[in-house]
């Protein structure tokens, strides 16, 4: 599996962070999510709408290293998770740019034209997140959002030591749900749709499955998470002549 991480990355080493180079998921400071095995591929000024669309569509300058490319083919399942400030039909990048739902839908269509994905799971946690998946028109996409149009997505818990909230509600409950999943799990997409009901999230999470060919009931969570690959037992062998010299002239 291959992960491309795009972070504005202004939090871990922010002068206001009392514990520099750490980002905790909970104020009990158990889990440092900015640990040793986190690899940020696009950071700070590199996180732009243009770079994001370039990664998706593959229209990348030839000098881009392998870790910054999507490298998917027609058998790849892709998970895209986006979070930040957003509104009706857009998501903010870096306080200076926006990506619109139309651009995102067009980018997915370009990916589909070149068969850069088999199935795509799109999860977005912003205010009015459902507006971002309204315009999708390419096949094989499942989309989840933390709130409907007109609703705000709320954050989960403040850390008074730092002075900001640590995580958003929808993301917090999705993570809690995913902690229970192990590679052999049979949990399906319908269970993921139930995560964070209005009582916990205050906003109403939404999802869209009309573009997806399979029934969500039959789609395993591990199809997108956990990189479980299809394998086949090798039953054949080639019979080699042991004594043959390496270079046979033809």
């Amino acid at each position: 599996s291959h992960i491309v991480l795009m972070l504005a990355d202004d939090m871990a080493c922010n002068p206001r962070n009392p514990k520099p180079a750490t980002v905790f998921s909970h104020k009990n400071m158990e889990l440092n999510v900015y640990g040793d095995d986190v690899e940020v591929d696009y950071r700070s000024y590199e996180v732009t709408v243009e770079n994001f669309l370039r990664v998706l569509t593959g229209r990348i300058p030839p000098s881009t290293p392998r870790s910054k490319r999507l490298l998917s083919d027609d058998r790849s399942n892709i998970l895209i998770y986006m979070t930040g400030h957003g509104g009706n039909g857009f998501l903010k990048f870096q306080d200076s740019e926006e990506i619109t739902n139309v651009e995102l839908a067009d980018a997915f269509e370009q990916m589909w034209q070149k068969r850069r994905y088999n199935e795509l799971l799109f999860i977005i946690d912003t205010c009015q997140g459902a507006s971002m998946y309204e315009r999708f028109y390419s096949p094989n996409i499942i989309a989840l959002a933390s709130s409907q149009v007109g609703e705000d997505s709320l954050s989960h818990q403040p850390d008074l030591g730092i002075g900001v909230h640590l995580m958003d509600r929808y993301t917090f409950y999705v993570l809690e749900f995913l902690e229970e999943i192990h590679p052999a799990s049979q949990t399906n997409m319908n269970d993921l749709f139930q995560v964070c009901p209005k009582s916990l999230c205050v906003s109403t999470p939404g999802h869209r499955t009309d573009l997806f060919q399979r029934d969500p009931q039959n789609v395993l969570i591990t199809d997108f998470f956990g990189s479980v690959r299809k394998v086949e037992i090798t039953t054949e062998t080639v019979s080699l002549n042991r004594d043959l010299a390496g270079f046979e002239s033809k």
């Binding site: 037992i233 039953t235 054949e236």
Partner: protein, 453 residues
């Protein structure tokens, strides 16, 4: 339209009585193969019927079919994509008892005569199912090797050595020699299809992602079939081959289990042990488990020197390589005998099949790519097409047309080269960084800017 030149050569005593015309004569048979709802390919078999020359008769006098095949190879038409069928008398001892058709490892087959012309045509039809292009051997529009247009494949071979190696082993795997002897000939043969480079590495203290089960009856450890999909990801993270190259990578891993988990065997779905002790994953590569045998008596001095049996390992890896390339053994009729390709890894006609399939796939890919590009241009009217993008598009179209023409004429080699160029050009045009639609002010953003004014 595909043209396949076929020669049917009759040895003395094998000519059926009911030939429509005296030898030699020509005939054309067409067969339509539909690949999907919109695409189908017409195969034109251009048949030449003739009798054997003196040299061919001498070759067919050989003791075994294999020797005859080797001798005939020098005499036949060896251009890519051609097929020669030699008809030997019914009573000939060249073919073993009970075998009516012997498929050699070059581009010919030996067929036992009998039953007249209709039976011969039936045999020929069976042969064309096996040897040249069939619908099952390809998918449209993408090839099986991955999206990279340059078709450069990197093979990475690795050994994982588990924690405590028994008795302090000095583990020696002569990979350089093995690659030169066994892998390189196969890759050389496939060099028409793709460029390859081979790397190898050794990883120590690797851990399998799953815990094998101990089986008391056989006192060995077992990996069940349903735990195999979870093995690859943890290992892949440590391989480092992802940093190596931009081209698709195939990984072949040899895993030596740690002493506490030896010997380790893989079980298939029915619980039976797998003879190769190996499994593979499409588009990724293969993993084989190599158990070091415990010596009968404690060794005189530690560490114990272990030489990996590279032939056994390469037999499995090359079989996996064949499967990853899509060269599987199809269902053969019971009286067919298929010659094993030996150290070359694949028979000439298998290479032909691969080339046919890739040529057709390439042409289909080019047409979908360019159509999609045209649709993009329709949608965003003010997109700027740079000169080099335009020239790539023209080159792609020209090469694709040339490939189609050459296929219809039966020149497989040049058709394949033309199709490869067409795909490279079309991919370069489609993925040009300047074509990002964001750069061209999508209409909805224009309204957002201008309406408030």
């Amino acid at each position: 339209q595909l043209a396949v030149p076929v020669a049917v050569v009759f040895a003395p005593g094998a000519v059926p009585g009911d030939l429509p015309r005296p030898l030699p004569f020509r005939d054309v048979q067409e067969m339509e193969i539909s690949i999907n709802l919109r695409t189908s390919v017409t195969s034109r078999y251009e048949m030449v019927y003739r009798s054997t020359t003196a040299q061919e008769e001498a070759a067919l006098d050989a003791a075994t079919a294999r020797e005859a095949d080797a001798a005939l190879r020098l005499l036949q038409d060896t251009s890519l994509g051609s097929l020669t069928m030699y008809v030997v008398p019914e009573t000939s001892s060249l073919l073993p008892q009970g075998v009516s058709v012997y498929v050699g490892k070059h581009r010919s087959a030996l067929v036992r005569a009998g039953g007249g012309l209709a039976a011969l045509h039936a045999r020929l039809r069976q042969l064309t199912q096996v040897m040249p292009f069939t619908a099952s051997s390809m998918r449209v529009p993408d090839g099986q090797l991955g999206p990279d247009a340059r078709r450069h494949l990197k093979s990475s071979l690795g050994t994982d050595s588990g924690g405590q190696i028994p008795f302090l082993l000095y583990f020696h795997w002569d990979i350089e020699d093995a690659v030169n002897r066994y892998v390189q000939p196969v890759l050389d043969k496939l060099s028409l299809v793709a460029n390859f480079s081979v790397d190898s590495q050794i990883l120590y203290y690797a851990v399998l992602g799953v815990t094998p089960r101990f089986d008391k009856e056989s006192s060995s450890f077992l990996l069940s079939a349903h735990s195999l999909p979870h093995v690859i990801n943890p290992v892949e993270a440590r391989l480092g081959s992802s940093a190596a190259s931009l081209y698709p990578v195939l990984n072949f891993l040899l895993y030596v289990p740690e002493r506490s988990h030896s010997p380790l065997y893989i079980q298939d779905k029915d619980g039976a042990p797998v003879s190769t002790n190996a499994f593979h994953s499409p588009r990724w590569g293969g993993i084989m488990v190599y158990n070091v045998e415990a010596p009968a008596s404690p060794p005189a001095s530690l560490p114990l020197h272990v030489d990996v049996d590279m032939v056994r390992v390469m037999e499995v890896f090359l079989a996996q390589l064949r499967l990853l390339f899509g060269l599987s053994r199809e269902e053969l009729p019971p009286d067919f005998l298929l010659e094993s390709p030996g150290n070359e890894g694949l028979a000439d006609w298998e290479l032909d099949r691969l080339l046919w399939a890739h040529t057709v796939e390439n042409i289909a890919t080019v047409s979908t790519t360019l159509t999609s590009l045209a649709q993009l241009l329709d949608k965003i009217g003010n997109i700027v097409i740079k000169d080099d993008v335009a020239s790539e598009v023209y080159r792609a179209v020209a090469s694709a047309q040339s490939a189609v023409a050459k296929l219809a004429a039966g020149h497989l080699h040049s058709a394949f080269q033309a199709s490869k160029e067409a795909v490279t050009s079309s991919e370069r045009a489609f993925f040009d960084p300047s074509l990002l639609h964001l750069l061209y002010f999508p209409d909805d953003q224009k309204f957002a800017i201008y309406i408030p004014l």
